[in-house]
């Protein structure tokens, strides 16, 4: 219990004093996860919409696999990405291992199935409503996808938050492909792991509280921005 209180106090001090290492690590965490999120949404949203509006033979199978992939263990993804990008691996020449790029790739792989599944679920619901109308109006498939995505935007933002949550707290994959290198690939979660190894629990907790605050801030900010478009003319 003592350590939790110590951790809270230490977290507060670190934040208030704008500790430069803390800021660097935190920004890096945000950078990696937000970039992974951006890449994921570019893939996930249109993909989810496409699955909704297209009738094809293995549709149910694809949806089932997609949902199942949400349970992909991050550390396994990390291992696979490592093998791919290792110098001895097929994509080794790209030299991406132990860089934030590899971490971004690993996280994108992990969160894309989640975002796609959540997005698919809500767009499926909307499509049930819109289907006859959009067919009647002679919309093209790209137009249908665009309309579904735009009108589902609130749910899509929730999907983003889910993906962000999963990514910002991830440690297994990025430890393997990033290496937790000081000043290069160290982020909040890997730093927490390091300090735990060092037995410095109060620092580890402090970093943990910073991570929680970060995640909460992102969530609050998202909902605050969300409100400005209510009744809106975007």
């Amino acid at each position: 219990m003592n350590e939790i209180l110590q951790g809270l106090a230490q977290a507060f001090l670190l934040i208030v004093s704008l500790d430069s290492e803390l800021i660097a690590i935190s920004l890096r965490s945000l950078y990696v996860t937000l970039t992974a999120l951006l890449i994921s949404t570019i893939i996930a949203f249109p993909l989810a919409a496409l699955i909704v509006v297209t009738r094809f033979r293995f549709r149910r199978l694809v949806i089932t696999i997609l949902n199942a992939l949400m349970g992909l263990p991050p550390v396994v993804v990390g291992l696979l990405v490592y093998i791919l990008f290792s110098r001895s691996g097929p994509l080794g020449v790209l030299g991406l291992l132990y860089t934030t790029s590899a971490m971004i790739i690993a996280q994108a792989i992990i969160i894309t199935p989640l975002i796609t599944s959540v997005a698919h679920q809500s767009m499926q619901g909307l499509w049930a409503d819109y289907r006859d109308l959009l067919i009647s109006i002679n919309t093209s498939k790209p137009q249908r996808i665009g309309t579904l995505m735009w009108d589902s935007r609130r749910a899509l933002i929730t999907a983003c938050l889910a993906g962000f949550g999963r990514g910002i707290g991830e440690v297994g994959a990025i430890m393997i492909v990033g290496g937790n290198i000081d000043n290069a690939t160290r982020v909040l979660t890997t730093a927490i792991s390091l300090e735990t190894s060092r037995g410095d629990f109060s620092l580890a907790l402090a970093l943990g509280f910073v991570l929680i605050s970060l995640a909460l801030s992102v969530s609050f900010a998202t909902h605050w921005f969300g409100k400005t478009e209510r009744g809106g003319l975007w």
């Binding site: 950078y31 937000l34 970039t35 951006l38 890449i39 949404t41 570019i42 290792s86 110098r87 001895s88 691996g89 080794g92 030299g95 991406l96 291992l97 132990y98 860089t99 934030t100 790029s101 971004i104 290496g179 937790n180 290198i181 000081d182 290069a184 390091l194 735990t196 190894s197 060092r198 037995g199 410095d200 629990f201």
Partner: protein
């Protein structure tokens, strides 16, 4: 809109990641790092040689794998048989001894197995094998773990026979110590990591000072023949620095709790 998103995704992804020419990656064992020695030593190397050194801190097994794959330019580990194999199979040109420290047996301050007064390391382990109180093993084929296995072998005892109090944790030294603290267990640890560890709990050093507990660290540069992209010239400079007089002074002057933890022994 879509184009902007796509472009920013690509830009962000590519960003700052350009590997500079003067950048070297070393895989180092966690005891080198968690003891605090790397923070003490490496900045000097970087400043003197004007090389950016990226340390990937992993267990010995993983360090060797990374070396084999060419994902790092050199490794610093402490597992002689593995190192010799590594050189033999051509992945490194040679192994260069740098420094040593020692292993110790940590145990609860009450010393339930009474190993404190053992005459030798082997006697201490014999007692443990009979008393069978909680014992934490690294279980990850790291240098420390292999040392532990070596000791069991010398007294002809198979750890499988220890029973349920033998906890094989498959973690790095620091996390293994955390578990030993939680279980009030005995554990073989390198002294440097222990002294620098912040969660000592109820454990203290119960045995140290045997010849067998010698823990040698060596530097192995990856062979350019195996991986053409290895920055051999820079690695050579680092190796030369590590065996230099300055290195000797820095290593020998590294103190934790008023004790010298590492001893330079390069030649």
């Amino acid at each position: 809109m879509i184009r902007i998103l796509f472009a920013s995704a690509v830009l962000l992804f590519v960003q700052i990641n350009t590997a500079t020419a003067n950048q070297v990656r070393l895989a180092v064992t966690s005891s080198f790092h968690n003891s605090g020695l790397s923070d003490h030593l490496i900045p000097h190397v970087e400043t003197d040689l004007k090389i950016e050194i990226q340390l990937v801190v992993v267990g010995t097994g993983q360090a060797i794998k990374l070396g084999k794959n060419g994902d790092v330019d050199a490794i610093l580990v402490h597992s002689k048989p593995d190192e010799e194999e590594f050189v033999k199979t051509g992945f490194a040109k040679h192994r260069r001894q740098i420094m040593f420290n020692e292993y110790v047996i940590l145990g609860p301050s009450t010393d339930p197995a009474k190993i404190r007064l053992a005459n030798s390391l082997l006697d201490a382990f014999r007692t443990l094998s009979k008393v069978k109180t909680n014992f934490v093993s690294r279980g990850d084929l790291s240098g420390t773990h292999k040392k532990e296995i070596e000791i069991w072998k010398k007294i002809n005892f198979k750890p499988e026979k220890y029973g349920k109090n033998y906890l094989s944790v498959g973690s790095n030294m620091g996390k293994a110590i955390n578990i030993a603290v939680a279980f009030n267990a005995y554990i073989l640890s390198d002294k440097a990591t222990w002294l620098n560890h912040k969660n000592k709990g109820n454990l203290i050093i119960q045995f140290e000072g045997d010849q067998l507990l010698h823990n040698q660290y060596s530097f192995l540069p990856i062979s350019k023949k195996r991986h053409s992209h290895i920055k051999s010239k820079l690695v050579e400079k680092i190796e030369d620095w590590l065996v230099s007089e300055k290195s000797k002074n820095l290593i020998n002057s590294y103190i934790i709790e008023n004790k010298q933890v590492f001893t330079f022994n390069a030649n």
